[in-house]
Symmetry: D2
């Protein structure tokens, strides 16, 4: 049984902890954080299903005052695990890495850290073998993770050599008060880093793109124009490939999936914990052909989309499964993915 | 065991069904709807925990096509229950009432229906005795339900004779695409109907107010200026009363409850089904005195706030408990309310 | 001096009236509307710079009550003009056309009407000759008008055969209360009508695309992937062409043009009437190459962008100038376009 | 002819400059700023109607590169004026004050500075005499300025001793990218500073209140519950007083003034420079009585509402008029206020 810890119990950290807890071949030892945030207070109200450890600089008196039990220090947690999932605020992970290295513990960092923090920039489908046995992995960001799922899917089926993307980015998560945008679209200097990141994971594909921030909280939407290495991919061919992917949920506008908020509502209606969804969405009625390119649109549930690929990362780093196919199959089984296809 | 059906499986209907399913002295017979909406599709993906009946006008072929099993007609459902919770779209409930009357089945309507649909305009705390044994109840709207909780709380403790409210209303629910507001506040002709409705439930209190719609989806905020019948209520007295109420959650900005979205996030972090919260929120650091008035602010989780009072309504209509105190205690026990106070 | 009337004094109608008033070779005879809307009330507060005529169904008593002077009936207005600019609500224009036809008056309809209302679907740059002498023109919609400016610009310079677009659409105008979207992105079935419309104006180009609505009020943003008929267009070549166009404003993020709201603010800071801008924006730092495609992003000021092309339409229909070059030059001169380039 | 300079040409600074330029008994000598912002670039595109001076720390090379002519240094500007209007970012004004003091120049600071920067916290109607001849004034913030107009109006007519307010605050201005809020309401610790500030201007009134931020950009809405010192104020009495005030625009929902965005649209339709409005709005159909209190709602155009009171401040500091009545009359005449009442 692989032992896992989580550093940083925020939007991503909570979901990493839940994800590990659902993997029957992994054991969540505990989580670490700095302050009695709302998420930590909720953990307490839930009866502390996960043990809490305090990172350096935490004021224990504040936890005591709020009646939140503490199980030990960050060093205590690190001492008990095989691997740490680090979802600390950007920059903190790099400092934590020194502690992990000293303790001989492996680690997986989230997209907010610099690439240099890790040996391998990792995606469970696109380059599992690169992460096999590695000590330090860094996950792609939420947009890149979801985007690569779809690009890798077409690439395996038909071979791609180029993509051009437009990212319509949600600017904050539900409940965020530390950032926001009001009645404005904001454009980033092109090319977007997601396109650049895709190329570092899939070097045989030329990628570029433009990103626009929008004042919403539920899910990014990305349009993708993908070019086949040879010949062309028809709409039916693309759809056929997408439908077989366990982490892509193909939907239709006419069934009620009118936008990113429909996915959020649907996940709540499903009773999913936190109203989360692990799959990206892909609209069947938004696939079009453009010359020898295929164009489509995907929905990225930004809070939860990287959880499956992080579970894959644990499997790779700790050599739990030899290849992407067997590793992702385990992850998907425990997360209940593609269950909806069995209808 | 009381048998309950739900008509209209939308935002409210789903939550009513969940609420009944949690009452150990009630049995949810099934739900009825018209079309294979996202919520019905989610029910199917969950494995049909609730039996589905089709109302008149439903196209069964569409359900078959989507692989959604159907248990019978609306008449079938009505024939099996003691009481119907009707959360159909506004106006439909009045038509359904004829079917309920013919079948000799009681019913509780939601706030969207006209008051004339019911014998009693009902609130579990403020006028339980009026609903006792009644055939047709109508619940107050989400804002009025939450507002009355707080006003009734002060009224019982200290006696009130007047309130003036400002409602800062969320304009749509997460996932709503049929209504919306973009970068605008919209004001309604005063007095707001919520103030008028409060007076029909609590006729000894003079109420007025102004309502402003805002382009957000998580929770209304209401400021209340309450006037004591005799003397004045201090901040400490108000706080003491609020803290004892099982359906009021007293919070602090400094703990992270910065606004309506914080409650939404907290409920998701708690792992509550659908990310819902049954309590209204009340900010300890936003209570101020104004002459002989006490002023405070509450947060109304619009999707779920009326569920407890509807459970109370079932208890009243079917004479399950003799008074508000015992009925609300049962409801609260099954819904797990005030569990957070036990620390 | 060409005599012009405007039917429908709403968001577009007001700007058409202003646009005509600025053309020194045209005379605005008056405007027509149905009710004392805010815009009509503002016209009155301004001292009635434009004469008001009432369309059929208008309740004159309401205008009298508000102290708004009326100059006559819709028929009176039609009887005095050479051409009507019809910006009535969708569908009304088709009915008005009968009146225009009976009076032997030409007309230009806005994008909201069906294509069948007109003899020619018109754009001042891309197909001026089609509108020359025609009786009934229909303007392309705001998105299509701005998009075609940029596509036509590259096409003239280098030759294009294909475009794929992603439209990030603002969902309402400032002050709109009859439509809106709250915290949601909404996707339309692909291909978007704007791509289809482009093909009907520029039949030698294959176009497709995806449209996503966003909850903002200031300006659509479109990303365009354009394919050269021969060879490839470099970033520098594209930029060179864009910079010469009188209706394209090339800007940089680093100068402060961070998104659609920056253009709105800038136009207000310029002191432009109504805070309007006639040019589309184009970001120099968002042009990228993708294989043999050039990708760029434009900003569409939806309220005012079609005004110049409508002025061009008057020139075409009434044979005021023989070709696009001379007609657009007149329009641009009177509207003060490209004045900013003279710096 | 009084000579005036403006420091900080941002949202407020631009409007102060315009306001001074409209006062026929004042002369705008120039404006000062630090960087070639969008607003400065717009000034250049307009042909530099106002002379530009550079504050310390400005990089003149950047202005040269953008082709923006510079007239001198901040010291040069200060040397030429009788009074400075300081709308620099918060905190900078306090530093600038030293320069003003050294040069023997008076100054008026905006609401963002600390109260200690000035000798007098000023409002043109409520305490003109306090500012008469003073060297350093500080204007109340936009919300407080508009609020005091309405409270002072009732106070003069009928006498008040208490107000309780709820501020529904717009969170950013159009075009703001440095702050924002997305799908959330945010509440501030009570009492709001606006209520506290009101008491420092009108010490005979007890004031308290609650403030909630909302994700919109056009206009704050405030509800006010005002208590008469003696007896009670009826709705008709309140309305009568409000209608006589030159800086209050009484409107009706049924005429189309549905919310803050309607005012913004109306001001644009009026052709007002920048689409601004100097008056606060007040809804006739939102005035209600609550016991012996009168309750009403006002709309605050945050970008421009403090301009008239700042002009009043110049008049007071430089002893141009002896009292509020004559000073505000001059300001109102030049700004064209209450012209709408003349029908």
């Amino acid at each position: 049984m692989v032992k896992v810890g989580v550093a940083g119990y925020g939007v991503i950290g909570q979901r990493l902890a839940d994800g590990v807890a659902r993997q029957k071949d992994m054991c969540l030892v505990g989580i670490a954080d700095l302050a009695p945030t709302l998420s930590i207070r909720a953990l307490k109200e839930r009866g502390m299903p996960y043990a809490l450890y305090l990172v350096e600089g935490a004021d224990k008196a504040k936890f005591d005052q709020a009646g939140i039990p503490v199980s030990g220090t960050f060093a205590d947690l690190i001492g008990k695990v095989d691997i740490m999932l680090d979802s600390s605020p950007g920059g903190v992970g790099a400092k934590n890495k020194e502690l992990y290295a000293k303790a001989g513990v492996k680690a997986i960092f989230q997209g907010g850290e610099k690439n240099t923090v890790a040996d391998v920039f990792f995606h469970g489908y696109a380059n599992y073998e690169k992460g096999y046995g590695a000590s330090y992995l860094k996950l792609t960001s939420c947009n890149t993770t979801g985007l690569i799922r779809s690009v890798d899917c077409l690439d395996r089926a038909y071979g791609l050599d180029r993509v051009a993307i437009t990212i319509i980015r949600r600017v904050a998560d539900p409940g965020d008060y530390h950032r926001g945008l009001t009645n404005a679209l904001e454009i980033d200097r092109a090319p977007s880093h997601q396109a650049v990141d895709l190329m570092s994971i899939m070097p045989h594909i030329e990628a570029t793109g433009i990103l626009v921030h929008t004042p919403v909280t539920h899910g990014h939407i990305i349009t993708v124009l993908a070019h086949a290495k040879k010949g062309r991919i028809t709409k039916d061919q693309a759809l056929e490939a997408f439908k077989t992917h366990d982490r892509i949920r193909v939907v239709r506008i006419e069934d009620g999936f009118r936008g990113n908020a429909s996915f959020f509502r649907y996940a709540r209606d499903l009773g999913n914990p936190r109203g989360d969804m692990y799959e990206i969405g892909l609209w069947e009625d938004c696939i079009v052909e453009s010359g020898d390119n295929i164009m489509y649109a995907i929905n990225i549930p930004q809070e939860s989309v990287t959880i499956p690929e992080t579970m894959d990362g644990i499997r790779a780093a700790l050599k739990m499964q030899p290849d992407s196919k067997s590793a992702t199959a385990e992850t998907n089984k425990y997360l209940g993915m593609a269950r909806w296809k069995q209808g």
